[in-house]
């Protein structure tokens, strides 16, 4: 490492001179630089190749397809902005899906984010030996989400009097007949939100835990010298600035997750759900691509969704980006 660093320093001053000659030279210089840092590129390559194949190409292809009529079985047909026009002007269900998604994202996004941060912080206060145990306990729901959903939550919210919640309420005398939790339009979204929050301590949470344990303990001593006394002050003045990168990472994950919610909704309320109470953009998209074979239109929805996510992502970068 050290040797490479010295090399870097010794050659760098020579580079700017070459740069201004011509494009070919410039390209050559770039290739040269890449070759010189081949080790780093090699290390990035596995992820980068996967990223190109599984994320970038589909993203580009999908953006392109959104201007076509494409039903998979026949060749695509150019339709210009027709898909977008229908999406914004005609598709009443998209509005419903949009509002449901927003409702979900606005509540689950921040709540779950704060939960992740504070649970990670709480766990950081516990003795070192117990930490992994706590982490496992809180992380488990995210791991076992799918299975637990049917084993635990659907039983709790079962519509008959044998469902746990109904049974408890009946026993307490609060209701006289079982509530149809998963059919009643007003309850569906709140139930989905509760279940999502329960299983939301996922990767973001882990990154926070890692971030907290990476904070240099000397900083606490330094802070103490500077007059910080309470744990809360430590959080504000040491922990938050120190875990900025993790906060950014978790925020991006959170935004993507919240906007692309879908599976959990159809698992709880079914698809189509009663009066589309649980219809989200993702489900709407799946509906068009899977059931109606309108992949072009589905792509347009996907593009809109991507733009929404990117926009919110920008905000997150603004908030947690390179300042700290």
């Amino acid at each position: 490492m050290a040797k490479e660093n010295t090399e870097l320093k010794s050659q760098k001053p020579a580079a700017p001179k070459k740069r201004f000659f011509n494009v070919e030279k410039k390209f050559g210089y770039t290739m040269h630089e890449i070759w010189r840092n081949k080790m780093s590129y090699g290390l990035v390559a596995p992820f980068f190749i996967a990223f190109i194949i599984f994320s970038l190409i589909p993203l580009v292809a999908s953006t392109a397809l959104s201007f076509f009529y494409y039903n998979i079985l026949q060749d695509p047909k150019w339709v210009g902005f027709d898909n977008y026009q229908y999406l914004f002007v005609d598709d009443a269900l998209f509005l419903k899906a949009f509002s449901n998604t927003l409702y979900y994202a606005v509540i689950v996004g921040p709540t779950s984010y704060l939960m992740q941060y504070f649970f990670a912080w709480f766990i950081n206060q516990t003795p070192k030996k117990l930490k992994p145990l706590y982490v496992l306990c809180f992380y488990a729901p995210a791991l076992a989400g799918g299975v637990m959903l049917s084993v635990v939550w659907l039983v709790i919210f079962a519509n008959d009097s044998q469902g746990y919640l109904n049974s408890i309420l009946l026993n307490m005398g609060l209701i006289s007949e079982p509530v149809q939790w998963l059919i009643t339009v007003d309850y569906i979204m709140p139930i989905i939100i509760i279940v999502s929050l329960w299983s939301s301590l996922g990767t973001g949470f882990l990154s926070f835990v890692a971030g907290f344990s990476g904070v240099d303990t000397e900083l606490y001593d330094a802070a103490a010298v500077d007059g910080v006394t309470s744990r809360f002050q430590k959080l504000i003045y040491v922990d938050i600035p120190q875990t900025m990168p993790q906060m950014l990472f978790a925020a991006i994950l959170q935004i993507t997750g919240a906007f692309s919610v879908g599976g959990i909704c159809s698992a709880i309320a079914g698809h189509p759900s009663p009066e589309d109470a649980a219809l989200t953009i993702m489900l709407h998209l799946g509906d068009y691509s899977g059931q109606r074979f309108e992949v072009g239109y589905a792509s347009a929805i996907a593009v809109v969704l991507t733009v929404m996510i990117l926009g919110c992502g920008r905000l997150a970068f603004k908030a947690f980006g390179d300042k700290g």
Binding site: I72, S176, E177, F293
Partner: protein, 1027 residues
């Protein structure tokens, strides 16, 4: 000091751990040694105790009592077994007869199995339901067994039902449910496929005279039935045969079996014990001579010690398993050559297919049970392979006397001493059902939609005032259940079987309740649940599977250490299998004669079947289709043909044809140009138009798009009205009069007065039949708009929603479960329920029936319209031409060779012979549980439904009515679901809800029509616009 303490501490921990490990190992080794020790099952006779819930049950007439109880009465009265000569009544010596019979004059020859049954002048052949009366006198008052000499002529592969009455009365309750079964054999054993794997042997029915002592068909009783005959008087014995034709040679009154005990058996023969070399094994799966059920088949096991070894190439090496678990199922196999007369020990290498379940088997040698102890021999539970000799409870092997030469061993599934437990549990469950009704009458609890009761826990009832016996009843229940539980555990070798826990839980509940009678009304839901759990336990208790590998015949005390594989052998097997997984092409297992088809034209066909069904299909294709038509078929097993074909289609590697293609997808694919219009192919339109076509016209509706047909029907089903005959009789309802929905509405008050209900699916699929019956349809004539805006559709909508609003039939119900309980004794379901009831609800066997759907009177013809849907999967040909060339319709005049070959294949597959053969093979392998619902009506007629069932199904199929598939049509179903939910669950205005659905549907349809360029005057369904 500190370090020393640390060291001490460490040593302590290590020591504790070591002790723990040793203890665990010791416990395990003791257990495994003890596990297969034979235990005493205690008293085991056919006599059943009288029900603890019925006072003075003995006074009841014999025809209402179970055989075991009647036997108990005989015993008390001191009747003795007859022991004289057989009294033989020839088949044609009957005094009178009802129904059609014929004489057996010509030899019966079956070419398939080359069996010949010699004609017998004394025999009669029944046809349909036949009642024969025989008159005779007996020399001595006593108990007689009945022996029937008969053979089953070739017909559907099910058993015949025999009902016996004596002097016009049933001698005991079960006498009307005696079954006469068929015989099956295996052939073509040991053939190999191209890769060296064994191909499963074939099997067929064979025909021969059977001589049978009439007994319980389910193996419930240990010995054949005995009936009491009085001397002097003329006795009339009435035999009623139904379901299948039977050829009866004679019926004899014989002395009941008197099998010696082992002691007597051992002393009765003077011979020496065999002391020679180890004899070769009897490979059971290869030596089967006869079996009563084709479902009991060979399988392969990868254990190192299974013989012959099968962890490399597949080599079928075991027999039986879960399929050989129902009472009465018997297998016979031939032993190896016995070198000399003498006493031999018999050992079996076996395993229990379900953990911790013992299995009772009757063991016969050359048709006779040698001694009492093996009339119901208990194979102790073996969770891994063991090789144990048949032995007594002191672990001394039983010795069997075998003469020189080969012998036939017959093993029959028996219930064993569980019969008393099963009986008591059944009585308990029946009693609880009655008690529950009484309690609900007092508390007036309402039913929830799911069948549970709404319980008001804040109210107390003085139950004892209304049901004085309640305290005693609860205690009786508790005692009976605890007794049953203890007996189950005892009989299962002191291991708690999985089904016992629900008995224990129920017993505990009644234990609690017996202390606080006031809690009973609050516990009715629990009682209700436990009741059905107990019934489930009875069913599970009767399932006693056993997997056999081989039998060893040897000298006393001979042991077989090579029967159990060691840890390292297991590791070796795993390694070999792992290694082979890289080289084996699993798709081509079972492929034979790849070389001979090299030069033939090929087609690729997708089929989404399970492995075993797929193998059957492939065998049929190679043996029949390829051989006759010289076309090679590359069959590919897929899960969900449609999705995969879409991907393959885009990639340009689609198959030529697909079977098992979802009918909903056909038009979806067709309108996007992915399917070939089959009506342009020679002969297709004959299937649609011909009077004698093997298909029902309605099956074609769903594949009809723009004047073309895109699929050949493959499967179909139908909805039927199921009802409980016993409950309906009790309520005095004549189900045969329920012709229209109005008739059904008329009986609803009677049902609901008795806390019962009617079940009809609350779903869009439930609305369509009502719509059709009103004369409505989903779309207008040309499939351009929704046709739900008609008066008929609105009437149908009101009628359907009113069933739930006005008549309050439950909109959510577990029909199957509640039908079994009897609290929804009538309802509508598809044929799936038929299989389910046949397989999993033996306790109501014979107590239910099916009928055509109720309908509406057609004002024009005056006929009752019973329309309902039921089209299933389709077979299709893929149109591989894409792009601009697709639009050229003249290419349909000259179909390519692969299209014609595919068409040849589809026609072959849907032909009556192929479908009948396939249906039969599926039935053999899986039983009624997955009966093949072929769309070929002639093939359907060969399936083993009874004649009455078949009549009902055929009648209902005449009313099969399917809607067309149109672009955007799925929206109607979706919005109708919303509409129904709003109208019924939220009580909104039905007309407004329906209008909403129509509006949204029309909007989507219009959008889709634009997408596919369908103009204003283009028909979606027909080639031309229809007015």
């Amino acid at each position: 000091m500190n370090r020393k303490r640390n060291k001490m501490f460490r040593i302590l921990i290590i020591a504790t751990l070591a002790i723990l490990v040793v203890t665990v190992l010791a416990v395990f080794s003791i257990q495994s040694e003890d596990k297969n020790a034979q235990f005493s099952v205690g008293e085991n006779t056919d006599i059943l105790q009288f029900s603890p819930y019925i006072e003075n049950e003995t006074r009841l007439d014999n025809s209402l009592l179970e055989y075991g109880k009647v036997l108990s009465k005989y015993q008390t009265a001191g009747y003795e077994d007859y022991d004289g000569e057989d009294i033989v009544l020839a088949g044609n010596s009957f005094a009178s007869v009802e129904g059609t019979i014929s004489a057996f004059t010509e030899d019966f020859v079956d070419e398939d199995s080359s069996s010949v049954v010699k004609a017998d002048s004394a025999a009669v052949i029944t046809e349909g339901t036949v009642t024969l009366n025989y008159q005779f006198t007996v020399p001595k008052t006593g108990l007689y067994s009945l022996k029937l000499d008969f053979f089953m002529p070739k017909q559907k592969m099910t058993e015949a039902l025999l009902s016996v009455t004596l002097n016009g009365k049933k001698p005991f309750l079960e006498s009307s449910l005696i079954e006469l079964g068929r015989l099956y054999e295996q052939y073509d054993i040991g053939n190999l496929d191209d890769m060296g794997n064994e191909i499963k042997c074939k099997q067929r029915e064979y025909f021969d005279w059977q001589s049978k002592l009439l007994g319980n068909a389910e193996g419930f009783y240990r010995n054949p039935y005995k009936i009491l005959l009085q001397e002097g008087k003329t006795q009339t014995l009435t035999l009623t045969f139904s379901r299948q034709n039977v050829c009866i040679k004679s019926i004899s009154l014989v002395a009941p079996l008197n099998t010696p005990t082992y002691e007597e058996y051992k002393n009765s023969i003077d011979a020496k014990e065999y002391d020679g070399d180890v004899l070769p094994r009897v490979e059971v799966e290869q030596s089967i001579t006869s079996k009563t059920d084709m479902g009991i088949t060979m399988a392969w096991d990868e254990n190192y010690c299974s013989s012959p070894a099968s962890y490399g190439d597949i080599d079928y090496n075991i027999f039986g398993g879960t399929r050989w678990s129902e009472g009465g199922q018997a297998i016979s196999f031939e032993t190896v050559d016995i070198p000399e007369d003498g006493w031999y020990q018999l050992s079996f290498r076996y395993q229990s297919p379900s953990a911790d379940i013992v299995a009772f088997r009757e063991i016969k040698i050359d048709g006779e049970v040698p001694f009492k102890e093996v009339e119901e021999y208990c194979f102790t539970a073996a969770n891994s392979w063991v090789c144990e000799s048949l032995k007594d409870e002191h672990q001394n092997p039983y010795m069997f006397y075998l003469t020189k030469g080969k012998h036939e061993i017959t093993m029959t599934v028996k219930l064993g001493p569980f019969r008393q437990v099963a009986q008591t549990l059944k009585e308990t469950s029946e009693f609880l059902s009655g008690l529950l009704k009484k309690i609900v009458q007092v508390t007036g609890s309402a039913r929830n939609s799911d069948g549970s009761y709404t319980v008001d826990k804040n109210r107390d009832w003085d139950l004892q005032l209304y049901i004085p016996s309640i305290k005693k009843d609860v205690k009786t229940c508790r005692d009976a259940l605890y007794q049953c539980y203890d007996r189950i555990v005892e009989l299962n070798g002191n291991v708690i079987p999985y089904y016992a826990s629900s008995v224990k839980v129920a017993a505990d509940l009644f234990d609690n309740l017996s202390e606080d009678i006031e809690d009973v009304p609050a516990a009715i839901n629990d009682i209700n649940t436990y009741m059905s759990n107990i019934e489930e336990s009875i069913v599970n208790m009767k399932i006693q599977g056993l997997t056999l590998d081989y039998m060893n015949i040897g000298k006393n005390g001979e042991e077989y250490p090579d029967a159990v594989s060691s840890f390292w052998q297991n590791i070796y097997v795993s390694a070999v299998r792992f290694g082979r997984s890289f080289t084996t092409d699993y798709a081509s297992i079972g492929v034979v004669n790849e070389d001979s088809t090299k030069d033939m034209p090929e087609i690729t066909v997708y089929a989404s079947f399970g492995r075993e069904q797929f193998e059957m299909l492939r065998n049929l294709v190679t043996e029949d289709f390829t051989a006759k038509h010289n076309i090679k078929v590359n069959l590919t097993m897929v899960a969900g043909a449609e999705g995969l074909i879409m991907m393959r289609y885009v990639a340009g590697t689609a198959p030529d044809a697909s079977i098992t293609f979802g009918s909903g997808s056909v038009v979806e694919y067709a309108m996007r140009g992915a399917l070939y219009p089959l009506d342009t192919l020679p002969g297709y339109m004959d299937y649609v138009n011909d009077e004698d076509s093997q298909f029902i016209p309605a099956c074609f509706t769903g594949v009809h798009y723009k004047g073309h047909y895109y699929g050949l029907p493959e499967t179909m089903g139908c909805s039927l009205m199921f009802y409980r005959t016993d409950v309906m009789d009790e309520l005095g309802i004549d189900v045969n009069k329920l012709d229209t929905w109005n008739d059904v509405y008329d009986i609803l008050p009677i049902l609901q007065e008795n806390d019962m209900d009617f079940c009809y699916s609350f779903s869009v699929g439930g609305y369509w039949p009502i719509l059709f019956q009103h004369g409505g349809d989903l779309w207008d004539k040309n499939g351009k708009t929704s046709a739900l805006d008609t008066q008929e559709a609105y009437d149908a909508y009101l009628e359907f929603t009113n069933m739930y609003i006005k008549y309050k039939i439950p909109y959510a119900c577990n029909f199957y479960q509640r039908f079994r309980n009897g609290d929804i004794p009538i309802g509508i379901s598809n044929l799936g329920l038929y299989s389910q009831l046949k397989v999993a609800a033996p306790e109501i066997l014979g107590k239910w029936n099916m009928r055509t759907l109720p309908g509406h009177i057609d004002p024009e013809t005056g006929e009752v319209r019973r329309d309902s849907g039921g089209a299933g999967a389709q077979t299709v040909i893929i149109d591989k031409v894409r792009g601009e060339a697709e639009k050229d319709t003249s290419r349909f005049d000259h179909p390519s060779e692969s299209i014609l070959n595919s068409w040849e294949f589809l026609q072959w597959w849907m032909s009556t012979d192929t479908q009948a053969a396939f249906a039969q093979q599926v039935e053999i392998a899986y039983g009624v549980a997955s009966r093949w619902g072929t769309a070929n009506k002639y093939a359907l007629a060969t399936e083993p439904y009874t004649d009455e069932e078949m009549d009902v199904i055929q009648e209902q199929l005449k009313w099969l009515h399917e809607a067309h598939s149109v672009p955007g049509g799925y929206y109607e179903e979706r919005y109708m679901l919303h509409a129904l939910n709003k109208t019924v669950l939220q009580g909104e205005n039905p007309r407004a809800n329906l209008e909403d659905a129509i509006k949204e549907t029309n909007k989507e349809m219009k959008r889709k029509q634009e997408e596919f360029g369908i103009g204003e005057h283009d028909s979606v369904i027909w080639a031309e616009w229809k007015d």
